[in-house]
Symmetry: C2
Subunit: 683 residues, 2 copies
Amino acid sequence: MFDSLSLDTTNKSSELDVLIIGAGPAGLMAAASLLRYGISNIRIIDKRSTKIFTGQADGLNPRSLEIFQVLGMGTRIQDEVLELAEIRFWNPDSTGRIRRTSRIPDTIPGISRFRQSVVHQGRIERIFLDKIAEWSTPSHASRTGIESLYEDTRPQVQVERAVCPDMLSLPSLSASALSDLPEDRITVRLRHLTEKEALPAQFSPTAASDGIFRSNMFQDDALDACPVGLPSEEYLETVHCRYIIGADGARSWTRKAVGFELVGESANFFWGVLDGIVITDFPDIRARCAIHSAHNGSAMVIPRENDLVRLYIQIAQPEQGKRPNRSDITPEKLLQSAQLILSPYKLEMPKVEWFTCYEIGQRLADHWVWNDRIFMAGDACHTHSPKTGQGMNISMADTFNLTWKLAHVLQKKADPKILKSYEIERAQVAAELIEFDQKFARLFSGKPAKDVLDESGISMEEFQTTMEKSNRFSSGTSVDYQPSELVCKEKTNKREFSYQDDLARKLPIGPRFYSQQVVGVADAKAYQLADLVGADGRWTILIFGGDVTQYSECRYRLEKLSEYLASDAGSPIRKYTPKGVDLDSIINCLTIVASKQASLEYEQFHPVLRPKVGKYGIQAYKKIFTDDESYHQGHGKAYESYGINPKVGCIAIIRPDQYVSWVTSIENHAGLASFFDAFMLEP
Amino acid sequence: MFDSLSLDTTNKSSELDVLIIGAGPAGLMAAASLLRYGISNIRIIDKRSTKIFTGQADGLNPRSLEIFQVLGMGTRIQDEVLELAEIRFWNPDSTGRIRRTSRIPDTIPGISRFRQSVVHQGRIERIFLDKIAEWSTPSHASRTGIESLYEDTRPQVQVERAVCPDMLSLPSLSASALSDLPEDRITVRLRHLTEKEALPAQFSPTAASDGIFRSNMFQDDALDACPVGLPSEEYLETVHCRYIIGADGARSWTRKAVGFELVGESANFFWGVLDGIVITDFPDIRARCAIHSAHNGSAMVIPRENDLVRLYIQIAQPEQGKRPNRSDITPEKLLQSAQLILSPYKLEMPKVEWFTCYEIGQRLADHWVWNDRIFMAGDACHTHSPKTGQGMNISMADTFNLTWKLAHVLQKKADPKILKSYEIERAQVAAELIEFDQKFARLFSGKPAKDVLDESGISMEEFQTTMEKSNRFSSGTSVDYQPSELVCKEKTNKREFSYQDDLARKLPIGPRFYSQQVVGVADAKAYQLADLVGADGRWTILIFGGDVTQYSECRYRLEKLSEYLASDAGSPIRKYTPKGVDLDSIINCLTIVASKQASLEYEQFHPVLRPKVGKYGIQAYKKIFTDDESYHQGHGKAYESYGINPKVGCIAIIRPDQYVSWVTSIENHAGLASFFDAFMLEP
């Protein structure tokens, strides 16, 4: 199909389930989560020869931290991030001097068990790379307690650097991704670059920042700092893929190759970013600050890990239609601007770790997906200003939304039509992001500063109110997916599902599942429900059985449901779980009752709710929980928090990416079956 | 001095500050903490050729978890341990059938921010080994934010395996450990074993458990599994040491070499231990259970990480004066005993991971320290029954008590007389342990089981009461050190320190410092005070300044204290900090006021309380805190918890190992100076 120069000199597979193009946060999340779900015939390539070591994106919102946690990466991320607590607003007083005018919490209290945090992109990439190595090692399954359904013949997956795609050949529109015929695959030619071609500027002997860069190297990054194994002569390779994820950034090759475009405008506001060590008498340098000066533009202060501070600094507006000269923007000039904004406070930066500048602009891809086969994600679909820390978070959330669906299709667990929900769900989020960013950027970059003080300028009250409102959006927890087979909302859903508002008043369908603490019946320990649900590719049925000690009707309903789930008469668990594998392999049932822990015996629950699992057929003990006081961590009040009546109970279906699919009555056995029948495939 | 066969074929130093003999938990804690404090000219040897991979000790008490946390190892430990929540008691009913009779929390609520946990010794060793590698890497200091006082010329420290000492030559009693004369050193001859000599039984090709063992290997242990670099022929090496830590276990070579003895008796109770995967209908297999059967002896159930369960099983008493035949004790026989004890419940163990047996006995070393130069620690000083999970915890606490003192002496920061406190403090703990263990073992092993039901048998009430009481002891938080220069208790102290009971009623002198949450003035973030204090070898002065917003007398007292600390007139901070290094390098001051966070400005505090530090002289921002409500983590109520009056305040001095040295009035400037003058040395 291509010229015959192609030379396959690696032992990597050229018949791939998924090719991931780009190893930034979106691509790394795709690779890590696919491996976590058991999809190992994948490759991930990046045109850069090394990972990111410093600078770049640095904000992690609570939702990203929730995702890391349930994927099994939480502890290490938590160990490295710097949490932010408060936003402080500084505005000019009547004399034009900046004053602190107010404070708000940086994460709305109660919105998540995690808080807005910062750590630079290089560390997040590091943790992903380590998890990719761990999860692509054959012994992974037994270590994590996940028994894989599928034969584990994984090669170790690594990011292949200095590799870029240069030709793409599409199969016919009617070709099935699951077909094994060569002509039904997407064919991509990969160019393996030499070190010279791929070397980033930071490694160039003439780069001024070279010394700074190396002195900041983390120990565990050392092996990635110097590209090894790159070819001395460029060569070509051809791969044949069922699916492609194009996570190759704002200038995405993949997007251009399939003919999609980023559409939008630039706002003609220019900003610079400086990361470094700061010496100042500005009192709020260790809090996030939004500063509007009277005459010198705006700045944002973001404290960072390791005593660093990031400054976002507005650059003087060039003449209408003109752009600032990039070579004019130096760390020294950015610092001068910051000094003017922060005046009369002193500001010095004896060590600059990283700097950049950007023009604020918002662009959205006109299409996200080619024929349910090639999926664009991250900056390849949406670009905007970095100041609100949304880019990396939303990019990772893009691929986290996609990969479980791809895994379901590749593992023949679900109909490929579920892939359609990717663009529906994520394009909506991106559109909200763009809308948010336009409003925020206008308010923050403002009109020329002199207007701030007169009536035609932007209102500082409006700015603060917007920022407060935006806090929920930027936490990532307000995403509310549209109805589909995977999100069964009332009325708007084509299939007629009964939905009783009063079953779980505060557990809405569409948003992400909010975690609460429950207590184990077998071990009296406190657990976070979201940790128990996990994100390992399985569906979860949360059975809120009510107070089974006090109410016999609760016991009766739970028993009836259990009998149904255990029966051959349509039970989705029985129907969609292959013979011979654990009963919780596809759909995991967790039962949460609302009785005193000491009044319950684990063995009193129906065996289908506590199946025997694993190689040795031992009882699974993390299946039955109760909403009770714990010895050491208080009372989770899960029923109250979800708005569930302990006399009634309910069932909640949670997607593999921990979004709420459906809430229904514990007696709605047929509905439960019907939910899964809409898209699941029998083994 | 020895025969001339000695061959130094390594590039390791033979002139050592500290030689650590034994790389179990006590030895590894010694090495890790010495490195943390900046003592890098150390070596650690072990006669075994590999680390422990499974089995052995498995309990971590809250105090050990506190120590790991403040040393900077907490996150990774927390990620691997299994927390225990509840102890359940099972006793025979009137028909002789075992019944659950009661439940108590496994960790007394409120006693610590951590909870009783289990993880096998091999994982703890793994984390220590990784930290030893990290902390002996020259770039460590800048990564952790600690700027070392001393030139950083550390070689990478690694456990040297298959190396055992075989001759010891002591210097004269009057020789100074700090002398550089060769004759003033302790000389030790080390024997480097060949692989054959050092190979543990588990690696022997005939070992039945070989397959089990390898299948349980953790990925990150793989490199340690097969001994490499061992010599093909044994050779000898001579090293000259200032200090030796003998952490070489119950059969300690070091202890014998200096002529000390373990004194005590065995109780003639025999127990077996089985670790494995359990299939059972016993309902409490995922809780810690103490089970007394009517006729078949006792057992303890301890749930473990990775679905494992540990069973402690009483072995039938042999005839008086006889011992069970070790070769008779097989996993099969232990399981049979357990089955009898747990009857009528069924119990199977399809996979045995590890097993052992032991005779209960309590022994204490007659001496712990040779001439303030050779320090025995861990099992080399105290042996007892393993069932209450104390051995590993108290062994690690031994060396954690010792190493900061050694570091102080080696760095010439303190008079060597402080080393005397090691035996005083730790022998007391060991004696309490032995007493506790004797009582507990008698009650648990009981009289022959038939007596349990009649009046001459042990009382189940007494057993439970003892276990409840013992919970505080076994948590490790009840340790209360004797008076010395380092612990200035009222009256009993030779120097006449004023001590006002009412200054901090609930912050007693002698026990470990109990952590509470405070809020940062600079960043509004919630912090645990113990994390801020840390364990990096520095002293901490906690200045509880009171409510400085509301009470002008609090402001006045804090200002006066600050002026004193900043002055040349005896300020211990100024006096003991070498010129040219950061003012918080030796003694770190943390100020905790009791005012509303929003009423405070960081810059309103005296500069001595927020010194400029590090290479760039930036303001230290984690120095001033307040006892206020946080945005996301509630109110720490530190003043209330420590019993400090916010109108009065106080000063608390915390040792480098986080024990409370002294509490005094904020106006007692002279006392503060006098405290440090008693043992510190001027640079």
